[in-house]
Each structure stands twice: as C-alpha cells, then as structure tokens.
Symmetry: C2
Subunit: 470 residues, 2 copies
C-alpha cells in the first residue's frame, strides 16, 4: 500500500492525471500477455521524461515501494506482473524518436516507441532495424530491450541485444547514467549496455536507447518447403548452413500449427504434410536469386515433397504474416494458450521437436511447435484450459520436462522471451546455483533495496510455479 | 610477498616447473606492450586446466594474493602489469582448439589459442572468425576477449565482443561457472558473457570460450585513395556510408604515418599527399566488384587525387599488411612510441584528426594518426623518449586533451585497447562518477576480496598518470 501522502508526491512529479489508481485502471495493469499470471499494483505512474523517472525512483526507493517498469505488456514471461504490488511505471509516454542519424547509422529513441513504427521510420530513409519480435506492431523498444527480444531474423541479423549501442538509465537512487553511445568501438569500462539488455527491469529503468541501423537490403525473396516428416526439414536446414548460406529467416511449423494457421489465413497449405519450412533471403538481387535457387534444390534433395518460391514480394509477405499469426491462430482453439520458448543449438532442432512430441503424448496434451529453425529457437505451444486444474498440473509437468530436455541438448530455457515469473524456477538449470547467486549480487549492486521488479528472474522463493491471483 | 609454504601449494597444484620465480622470469612478466609501465610479480603460475585455475584462485583468495591473468601480453593499456605484485597467471598452456562445430558455426577454444591460428583453422573449413586485432599473430583469444579487442573489420563485422557466445569462467572463490553457449538466442538471466568480455581480468578468469563463426566470404578486393587534405578523405567515408555501402575495412593514414609505413614496406606511396584511405570489400564477387567500382567513383567525386584498385588479392593483402605495420614502423623513429585509442562517432572523424593535429602543434610533439576510419577508431601515436622527462610531461598533457576532445565529440577514451592502468584516470570522463561507483560494486560482486587484477580500470587511487618502476 502507498500512503496518500506519498501518492500526492508522485502526482507532484508527473501531474495528477498521470497517476492512476482507480480499480479498473489497476486491473488493466495487473497482467501482461502471459496467461495465468495476475496481480494488482497499488498505482500506475506515467512519466514523460527522464527527470520524472528519476524523481519517481528516488521517492519509491525512499519508501521501499516496488517499481515495475513496463511498455505495452506484450511479454510472455510474466515479467511485468506487479507480484509484490507497488507502482507500475508505464513508459509509453516517452515515445519520441529523438534522432535518426544517417551519418552514423544510429537511431536514438525513447523507451515507449513502438517497434514497428521505428521500422517504418528508418525504412523510409533506406535504413533497416532488423529485430522483429512477433509482437512488433504493439511492443515497445524499451520492452524489447528489457526482455532481450528476438524475432524471425535472428539467424542472419542477430536480435535486439546486437543492436543496442547506448543507453540512458536511472538507478533507484535517482542517479541518471549513460553507457555506450554512437561509437562502433567502445571498451571504456564494463559493458553496462549489454548487462542492462535483457535485465527485465530488475537493475535500472531505461529512459533512452541508441540503436544500430543497417542499410536496407535491396530485395528479398521467400520460399516454402513441405515435408512428410520432421527430420527432412531439419536436414534441409543443416544443408543450407553447410553450403555456407545464411538466410534472413528460416521458420518451422509442425502439422498442428500448419492446420490452424491455414484455417486462420486461408493459405491452401498441403495439410497432409508433417512440417514446413518458410525461408526468406534478402540482399543484392543476384545473390538472393542464386541463394533461393540453391535452397530450393537443397530442400528437394533433402526430401521435401513440395517446394514453392513466392512469385512476388507481396506473396512472400503474406506467408510471413501467416507465420506471425501462429500464436493468434493457435489461441483460438482453446481458452488458454501457453507458449514456451525452449531453445537448442541449431543442430539439435529435430531432436528437440521429437522430444516435445514425445512429452506431449506422454502427458496427453495438445502441443504444437513452431519457431525459428535457423537459430534453434522453438515455441512449443500448449492449448489448454486454465479452469481444468488436473490438466494444468500435467501441462506444468510437461513444460518442466521440455526445459530439462532443452538443457540436456545444450540449449536454454528461454531464447527470446525472458525469465520473469514464468521461468524463474528453472533458471538454475541453465546458470547453476553459483550463477544465480552471482546474479543476485549484481542485482544488489544496482538496486540495494530491491525495489525494481521484485520477485522476478532469480528471486529466492519457495517453489511456486504459477501465480494466479484472481 | 608470497610465503614459501604458499608457493609450495601453488607448485602442488600445477607442478614444480610451472611456477616461475627466478629474477629473469619475473622480469619477463613485469611488462606488457604498453611503454613506460612496469612492475615485478612475486611469481608466475602456468595452469594447464580449469581445475588448476580453480585451485590457484581459491588459494590466492584465501591468502589475498593478487592474480593477474595474462595471455601473450600484447595489450596496450597496461592491463597486464602486476602493479600490486602477486602472481601473473599465464594462460598460454590452455591453447587447445577444443572444437570447430560446422553445424552450429561455433568454435570452442582455450584462452591461450593464438588469434591467427584460429583464423587459419576455421578458414581451412570455409569459415570465418572476423575479429582481427593488430597483434593477431601473437595475441591470444583469451586476451582478445578480456580486453574486448577490435581490429580492421569492425565496421562491417563488429569486434570480439560480437563473436563471444559462451564462456567458462572461474571466480576467486574457485567456483567454476558457465554462461551462454551455442544458442543463437539465449536470454536466461543477465548477459554474463558480455559483462565478462572487456572486463580486463578484474571479474573472473576465463578458461574456455565459445565463438561465433561466419561463412568465409567468396572474395575480396582492395583499393587505395590519396588526398591532398583530411576533409576529403572523411567526406569519402561519409559518401560511402550514405550510399548504403558497408565495406569490410576503411583504414585511414595521415601523411606522417604514410611516410614511415612507406619507408618500412617500400610501397611507393605518393608521399606529397596529406592522407590516404585503404578500403577493402568482401562478399560475393559481383557485389564486391560493383561496390569497389562505386567506391572508386565516390573517392574521385570527393576530391581524391589518386585512386588505385589492387590488381590481385596478393597486392591487396600487401597493402593491408603495410597498414598493420604502422605501429612497428612508427616505433622505429624514436625510443618510445605511445599509441592511443581515442574513438569518435564516424561522422566526427575529420574533426578529431584536426584536433589531434592542433594539440600536437600546441605541445610541440610528433603525433601521427592512423586508424579505422569506418568505425571512428583512431590511433594517434606519439613518438617520444621516456628519458626526456620534460617532453613526457607534455605528452601526458597532450593525451589528456585528446581524451577530452574525443569525449566532447561524442566519442570515448578507448575503442579497442581497454582502460587498464593507462586510462584509468580518464574513465570517469566517459562513464561519470556514478558509473565508476556502479562498476566498483559489480567488481565486488565477483571478487569481494579484490584479488583479481587489482589497481586496474577504475581502482580508486590518487592521480598517478604513469607508473614507471624501473
């Protein structure tokens, strides 16, 4: 609970209308895109400037009030749930594109800028910001940076962390700091920039972001390949990499995902097939043409039952949009859709998909798998119903096995969604108990009173798989 | 001082012959490649395995003995000087290439692997490890990672930090940890991998490194352009980027550097010119040909007095080798050569070169400037004589002004060499006092007793610009 006096002080910082505390408002900030996690904040505060963020943090730190930084709330790890109450710090008013620097190929933006609007802004200048998380039409750059968001172009272009060059950030003390900047090379001290990327709001509040841009590729082309089994799809991916071709995107869908995506987007996919690959290459036209032709040959040579090259950029875009709709499409099937993010080295892709199928069978669950085959980042997605306690119990056990399988195959518990609440009980599998302890000490170096997004990532807690407060 | 009993314990861990403490041996480890810094260690210990490193660290931590991890000692920031005594931990025996994984495009190596030998090993498989620090024929991967080394391909390919995917590391407690791995996407907890890259041995001892590889580009071509002034060279660089071409390398040399390089390598450069650019592009043949032709046109359009395209790969390689020899060539002129590493955003390149010229004039010093024009990373290099106390005093003041100028232009005090002892009194210019304080707290989270490479980077100390102990 926040006392009326302190609430007045928050209002004095941001203005009356930017402190929300009516029940409907609190309810709207009690969840993010992760199913089955919910908790009410005590207030929502919407600052308009770094100075206001500094004032808010100082005040919250003094009174030991939890602060949960948040963008559009599209995250899938329950990282934005105010599980210990306190204030949700909505940064969406700080949504200015401050500068697109065409000489240094950088963009400097507020954390509230929507990802797709940055794409648009830079593309009109012939520039390119590659990270394209699934939620890019809604998600904010601040959220992308905080969660270390990925997307479909990870294989060739890397992910959000590879594009963050500099940050302005505010500590709980209210201190405003900067790290990195526009320099391609910079080794002055520890790499605070990269430490903050993916820290899920537990270390500092990010108030300005300088991103690296690339020249926009001249052209792109898309192909799809359909397979009667899983292994041949994986073998095709292997063959492409072995041929030293790095496509912009290699997406994978299993039969279950193909069915719902086809029903949703009316693509006319051959639904008797067991899996498909969706491959995009971009770059200079002659290189793209050559790569696409070779990829088509390799798909056939590795057992594809059908290969189609998109006839036009529009057709290619339609296919990619359909793939992006996989989560939405799957979520129409059942009341609750739990999307996971287990990731393995590319060479273990087929093994992992098969593991997921075995586990789903064993627990009698409907799990579809799609994801980024080029970078081994899979999204096993379970269609269930949270009101069915017995089934949810099986879902929990199945995902626990999936995480263990990913680790056993040299993978990780999360490729691009983050740890948040949803995976905090599994982080030790990847980083070990010593690693957890070290992260807690780093957290304390930034946030000695533990006010920033408490309870997330590695917070010591008794085992509590799901926090459902309804 | 290390007691005879403790020395015996070190010998019990690594074997008698791998603990060195004769005066000539200690002397050999009293310096690195940075002029004017020297201090004797109490012993040198050469472990052969992670387990041995763990034992050494535990023992050193118990007895509060400083540990200075070291590779080949090519660093230029005095990061490997045992300024508080203790043991130099030479990791060069851990020089195995454990694996080159052609399916996942990774290499896993010990810290003692020499950079150029990794280049060779992966290139025979058609793969590519882009980071190419100037000292690559001598430097080790462990040293490159610890210093965050750069090189000539930073503009297009990034630097060492962009290729480190996973690490095994040992804490002073002796705990052996792992972070990252072979997954292209991985957001499980804080990005410890990147925090350790560039940490200069102050946080942990790195015992194994997993690196990202790329397909080896099909071909490369080189051109040189000569200018009657500085501004036109900088304008050419701007024009290339504005045309959305990202060459693999854009190197800059001023007239002074051209003269000594020409004398050293007998290239027949037009020495009446004020500056030159050396540009390499790599990739598919048709793209390289087109880019090189357009770059040649842009150089001419922006005032180049002469443009020459290398007729063969051998001729191109000869030009790049000559540029790599710049430091060696310059160091023949005077007894002491101090190479700096000031870096600015690419758009401020000409401003920075002019600043350096003005500062050199004002202090009556001979400073040549060369460096990586594509990424704004310059190496103003002063030819002096450390025995001339009065001149050294001027050198100090000049470099201090150069650092201030870099910061004023939005740059940084070090692009690729690190902070070490040489720049620790200037780090606050870039990261601020709060940033320094935060880094000290992070250091304490890893190394509570402060045994790892003490005195470096941000160590609180009274102002002490040069530590010369001879």
């Amino acid at each position: 609970m926040i006392s009326p006096e302190v609430k007045e002080q928050f209002k004095a910082i941001v203005g009356d209308k930017w402190v929300l505390d009516r029940p409907a408002e609190l309810y709207a900030y009690s969840y993010d895109a992760t199913p089955m996690y919910q908790a009410l904040p005590d207030a929502v505060v919407l600052p308009a400037s770094t100075r206001e963020v500094s004032g808010i943090l100082q005040l919250a730190d003094t009174h030991r009030i939890p602060v949960i930084p948040r963008g559009s709330g599209t995250n899938l790890a329950a990282s934005a749930i105010p599980v210990h109450g306190g204030i949700v710090l909505n940064l969406n008013r700080m949504n200015q594109i401050h500068e697109i620097d065409t000489r240094n190929l950088t963009a400097t933006v507020g954390p509230g800028v929507v990802t797709a609007s940055l794409h648009q802004a830079v593309e009109t200048l012939g520039l390119f910001y590659p990270p394209d998380p699934g939620s890019m039409r809604i998600s904010t750059i601040g959220g992308n940076v905080s969660q270390g968001a990925g997307g479909m172009r990870g294989l060739k272009y890397g992910v959000t962390k590879d594009y963050v060059m500099g940050l302005e950030y505010v500590l709980p003390s209210g201190d405003i700091l900067r790290c990195g900047g526009k320099n391609v090379k910079d080794v002055a001290g520890y790499d605070m920039t990269r430490l903050l990327v993916g820290s899920e709001g537990t270390l500092a509040v990010i108030t300005e972001i300088t991103l690296k841009l690339l020249p926009l590729p001249d052209t792109k082309r898309t192909l799809v390949a359909f397979y009667r089994n899983l292994v041949d799809a994986a073998k095709t991916v292997e063959a492409i990499i072995a041929a030293k071709i790095i496509p912009a995107t290699i997406e994978f869908m299993d039969q279950g995902t193909m069915k719902v995506v086809d029903e949703f987007a009316r693509l006319g996919l051959p639904l008797e097939m067991k899996s498909m690959l969706l491959i995009e290459q971009d770059g200079p036209a002659e290189v793209v043409d050559r790569d696409i032709e070779r990829i088509a040959q390799m798909a056939k040579a590795n057992g594809a039952a059908g290969v189609e090259v998109a006839g036009s950029p529009e057709e290619g875009a339609k296919l990619l949009t359909a793939r992006r709709a996989a989560l939405s499409a799957l979520s129409r099937l059942k009341p609750t859709t739990i999307l996971e993010d287990a990731t393995v080295p590319r060479s273990r892709l087929a093994d992992m998909v098969e593991e997921v199928e075995r586990i789903a069978d064993r627990y009698g669950l409907q799990i579809c798998t799609f994801g980024h085959a080029g970078d081994g980042n899979l999204h096993p997605t379970c269609m269930t119903d949270e009101r069915n306690r017995e089934e949810i119990e099986r879902v929990e056990r199945a995902f626990e096995e999936i995480f263990h399988a990913a680790i056993r195959l040299g993978g990780t518990i999360t490729g691009e969604h983050g740890v948040g609440l949803a995976k905090k009980d599994f982080l030790h599998l990847k980083v070990g108990e010593s690693g957890l302890e070290l992260m807690r000490r780093i957290k304390a170096a930034f946030d000695p009173n533990g006010i920033l997004n408490p309870g997330k990532m590695f917070a010591a807690s008794k085992r509590r798989r799901w926090v459902v407060k309804r």
